[in-house]
Symmetry: D3
Subunit: 73 residues, 6 copies
Amino acid sequence: MKISARNVLKGKVKAIAKGTVNAEVTIEIAPGIDIVSIITLPSVRSLGLKKGAEAYAIVKASNVMVGVPHSPR
Amino acid sequence: MKISARNVLKGKVKAIAKGTVNAEVTIEIAPGIDIVSIITLPSVRSLGLKKGAEAYAIVKASNVMVGVPHSPR
Amino acid sequence: MKISARNVLKGKVKAIAKGTVNAEVTIEIAPGIDIVSIITLPSVRSLGLKKGAEAYAIVKASNVMVGVPHSPR
Amino acid sequence: MKISARNVLKGKVKAIAKGTVNAEVTIEIAPGIDIVSIITLPSVRSLGLKKGAEAYAIVKASNVMVGVPHSPR
Amino acid sequence: MKISARNVLKGKVKAIAKGTVNAEVTIEIAPGIDIVSIITLPSVRSLGLKKGAEAYAIVKASNVMVGVPHSPR
Amino acid sequence: MKISARNVLKGKVKAIAKGTVNAEVTIEIAPGIDIVSIITLPSVRSLGLKKGAEAYAIVKASNVMVGVPHSPR
């Protein structure tokens, strides 16, 4: 399946922390650049996510905000 | 201000495409890695966004999905 | 690619209305049941979306709210 | 109250799985078509959600992505 | 309909700016406190939104971030 | 940092309820007006959130829906 989400960032699973309904999954998309995701536990299982595995962090463009450094402006 | 969003990725504004209500802003967060954002036009103005300027792509962890390559898994 | 989004609903593209930055895409997932999506124009193009084509409406579970009928409860 | 969300899909509560902060609620909107939602526990209580009860799955159009089958296109 | 969104803030429509697909709607929920929303044009029409009319700003709790003042903390 | 989110509402932390992955944070932005947020536990810690502390509720405009009283009902 190809998806409309504009941001599909390839990386490796760095950590998975499981809760009761959700899990926090950290994906390293470049050296020193991590993306943290909260997904449901059944998704962790159905994707077969494991530390070290190849994975994509996927974000719809309308869910990305922009920030600028506060001061000199 | 410090924000709860887990993903705050530093980069440079690479492109700004303006519509009538929204604008599409592309931020390069690493060589070859772009993040595309849709924000409102007043935000583009109030942040003073310009091509080449330093900027952050900000994403709440609950808005990040995870994908895995389809087959050999 | 397999994705963590819990809701991946198969259907057919029923309508595409284009704006300047975004487009509204309607997908019929069952007789009489439509799902409306707002995605960016470049996504409409890169997916090759056309009226009548097979498509999926994809929604992360954390973006689904629940409602109940107001009164007799 | 009438709401701006473009997607208001009528169905029946099929399952409720409770965590410590959130709950996962599954709503069957047509035979064989389920929508999974993550909402907070207080919402489950205040809506009086119960298995078998009538309920709506509600999604803002900007939170719906579109996918297409990968290959033959 | 009663909805699971934890944030339902009553106010008055202060401004509506229409684009080609979306509109920006400003709701004043308390003196000096405005909430800005981006919804689709068909929603503006189907809700019959007009400047001065009573309206609610509705936000799912998982879409609210938290910030703190930067320095002295 | 200055952020593109159109809704940045100043208030005080009224309550924090912690789960295993997420926490529910209530911010009072005006007398009698609370905003409820779900953020991850590490964010609660890194922001140093405490009951009574000054905080902002931050919402991207595309995540705000609009409702109207049902009237003729």
